[in-house]
Amino acid sequence: MPYLGGEETVRELRRALSNPNVQSDPLRYRNTILKVIRTMSQGVDVSGLFSEMVKACATVDVVQKKLVYVFLCSYATLNPELSLLVINTLRKDCQDPNPMVRSLALRNMTNLRLPSLVEYVEQPLTAGLRDRAACVRRVAVLGWAKLHNLHPSSEIDAAVVNELYSLLRDPDPVVMVNCLRALEEILKEEGGIAINKPITHHLLNRLKECDIWGQSEVLRVLQRYRPQSEDELFDILSLLDSFLVSPHPPVMAATLSLFLSISSNLPVISLAALERVSGPLLAACGSGSREMRFAAVCHIQLLLRSVPGLLGPHYKRFFCGYAEPAYIKERKMQVLVELVNDENVAMILDELKGYCTDVNTDTAQAAISAIGRIGRSYSDRCLQILTGLLGLKQDHITSAVVQTMRDLVWVCPQCSDTVCLALDGCEETLQDIQGRQALLWLLGVYGERISTAPYTLEVLIDRVRSEASLGIKMELLTATMRLFLCRPAETQDMLGRLLHYCIEEETDMCVRDQALLYYRLLHCGIEKTREVLQGRRSDPSLGVLIGRPAKPVSQWARCFNTLEPLSQGAVEAESDSRGSPEHVTYNSKPNADLSDTLSCKLPFEGKRSRINLSACPLPEVDVGGKATKALFGYSILLN
């Protein structure tokens, strides 16, 4: 990419690099090269200096060599021909008496990533495997993995593979672990390195020598091993016991993962391991760094699926700190919901109530929906809190409460009386679309019990012309229809007006079609309409919170200690379900390409688009946020 002033800089640097006076002064030469690297890291294209830099490579100064290699590795793929010139210097360096120089040369040789150079690299790599210095062997071993990656289809020589297997016995633990890594990559097609009894025992015995990265790696690979006898199994377990309570969360998690996989048909052992690990896990939850805390809480959520009672007495550990980021608070609340029992329910609800007024609206709404989930088991207490929150008259709180009440009523129909009473007057505070949609749904379904329902709807119908949200209009139509069925006298007139507006004036086809559908339905007679519109009001089968059957450990053991638990989707996304219960969630197609994600920056990234069952695909969703922008008051500027 051209850079203003860049060409000038490059020319100047070239002049300096080829100046014999500079070349003869090592310090000046090194400083010039430093300048090149600095310019490079500032984003200037200095690939034009490639040939000058290749010359600078031939030096005894290690610092200079390192600098040049940084340069060469960045630009080699752009200059495959010139890179051939480097190979000679690099090969010569591989014979250097200084092991540091040898390892440096070997590493950079493999980092050039040029398939054309493979034939020149193989010989020094083979020699590197037998080098006296461990640091050279480390590099050489991984070098083979890199070569394999350049040509994934070509076979690596069987002799090399054998040599790598034998290097598992290398005295240097890093060489050993690198061998594991290299073999895993090279033998990927065959399912990775063959784990047999002698290898397993050798690795286990040397586990203590490795650093934490090596330990995690070894423990991960050993998951594939199946002990041949019960005695062997117990030997392994007792050997690993000290790692289970390791102060390093990654090692602890990897050990637990190994425990779970090798004892998968001995549930008692798995359970004992889970109990033993709960201490270190809780410690990780309180660790100083928030990311680690987050990872730990996410993994605890997995554990709780199988052993819901495991951390019951420690529920206070999951109370949120004031300054914690919202994502941790959200997860902790989800854990708290799981931990509720008769003894602690009062404490937990009290704590959650405190979060409802959090400055971060996301946290507040998550807290409210957590209370709603607890409400499935302890409905009276929770409804009392939720109704109390309505009194605050804060729009985001009211919105979350109404949505939560809607979700609660769907699973616990016995709450409906309290909910109907509480709803009175909320419509004035509600601002956002989801909240108003929830209110409309409740008004439609429980209209006969809410005395003011027709008046609330009437206000909205009068304002429908200025209503921007499609979802609200759709929900309003359905709610008015439902209300008409139970309170025809009060609703008939406004329903007529609404249908007239939607059919005659509305420009959005979805709304119009929906209105036409209802209009024609009404022509079929009131009984038919009732049949269609008044379906189920609740679904208690979705179940209560407590006494849910514990899921087997094997269900989640595979994804323990990986990335999966941390991604939102892995956890039951119930707190996420913000649409009407009858509405399905529609997952827009995940972007397959990184560059795609660069272009479509929706204002509400991450939130799923929701689509009404009866609606045709929304044009808004496809356009990539245009409609949402219109909503924010933007209009397109015509040229």
């Binding site: 051209p2 850079y3 203003l4 860049g6 430093l34 600095r38 310019t39 890291s41 500032q42 984003g43 610092v63 940084v70 590493r107 990533r113 590099v139 890199k146 990656n149 672990v177 990265w213 790696e217 991960r220 390093h248 969360p249 990654p250 990897a254 990780a284 760094s289 990311e291 680690m292 987050f294 996410c298 993994h299 980021p325 994502y327 996301d362 200025s466 994804c559 200690n561 990986t562 990335l563 638990p565 941390l566 939102q568 972007n591 390409d593 990184l594 560059s595 795609d596 660069l598 272009s599 204002p603 990234e605 922008k629 008051g633 933007y634 209009s635 397109i636 500027l637 015509l638 040229n639």
Partner: protein, 440 residues
Amino acid sequence: MIGGLFIYNHKGEVLISRVYRDDIGRNAVDAFRVNVIHARQQVRSPVTNIARTSFFHVKRSNIWLAAVTKQNVNAAMVFEFLYKMCDVMTAYFGKISEENIKNNFVLIYELLDEILDFGYPQNSETGALKTFITQQGIKGQTKEEQSQITSQVTGQIGWRREGIKYRRNELFLDVLESVNLLMSPQGQVLSAHVSGRVVMKSYLSGMPECKFGMNDKIVIDKQGKGGASDDAGKSDLGGGSGKQSIAIDDCTFHQCVRLSKFDSERSISFIPPDGEYELMRYRTTKDIILPFRVIPLVREVGRTKLEVKVVIKSNFKPSLLAQKIEVRIPTPLNTSGVQVICMKGKAKYKASENAIVWKIKRMAGMKESQISAEIELLPTNDKKKWARPPISMNFEVPFAPSGLKVRYLKVFESKLNYSDHDVIKWVRYIGRSGIYETRC
């Protein structure tokens, strides 16, 4: 295993980028910047998944460290590694700050080379690393060096860097105005002015040359009648009156605007900074559209009672909606009780502020609304008459009260192959109340 490591500053500029594995493409650096650092909402999670690539990040002061991977790796380990990386860097050069990272980039590249090989952590102990690392950490630096580096980074244009690339070229223009008014009880405008800002958010690739046009009276008059009326009609997106051009009293520009061109031809051309910035500020005093008229009526009934009636009239197109309307009617200090009746919205007497606050959420144009209040006063010995502070008002309207209209914003980028038509442009007008007072 880790596919790459990136270090960004708080603006999202890449300070260090090291890719270890081929499955991490060059666009990964930008993906993280766009989706996380420049995201509009708060960070939702320390792990972000973008197109099957996972980005793990930690933040140290205002530096972002991100590890990228395509594999389903052990999350705790990656975080542990990032902490370790921070520890090592701290051990070498002290606090992790933008300045320190820029000064020590050679050292950091060297460290990254030793700590990770092919994405596998190798050697992370500071003590052990010492034998492999040739560089010394630089903990501070002189002013001279600093300025030298900045001039190198910036070249000629200090506010924009090279090589910015967006898949979709898009720009947002916000015309934000605050309208100030002082009106006499009889409805005469005593003073009125609008101070406005044009804020631009640009997401444009390369080094685009932009030209901004508005209905500035001088330019319109110069161009001649025909073209002007056509233009103004086309871009009539908001606003109440059919005014075609406005007289700008004074204006100032962002440093990117070429002032010489503005002085000679009154055209506003510039190379915009990336992201959000304020393009210009201006002030107008003539022909201001006053979004609201306030008509007060105060009657003193005896010594212990006041009757106040206030009518507000909205004066813009009926299709537009004003928001967050708040009328503040001051009450005397010796008020003992207030009864309020209002047609719309909510009104409350706030004793602590000595005022009746009347709030209306929304109000369409060409409407009127009224409030009447009975104020009971405590009898006082004080002979001094109540000073009657003015009635003030707050609101937000979706048009520019000065009448300013954006006529065009043309984007020219000769080096990259996108044209003016490919750029998606958005305009929004927001008029807010400044000091908007009516005497009573």
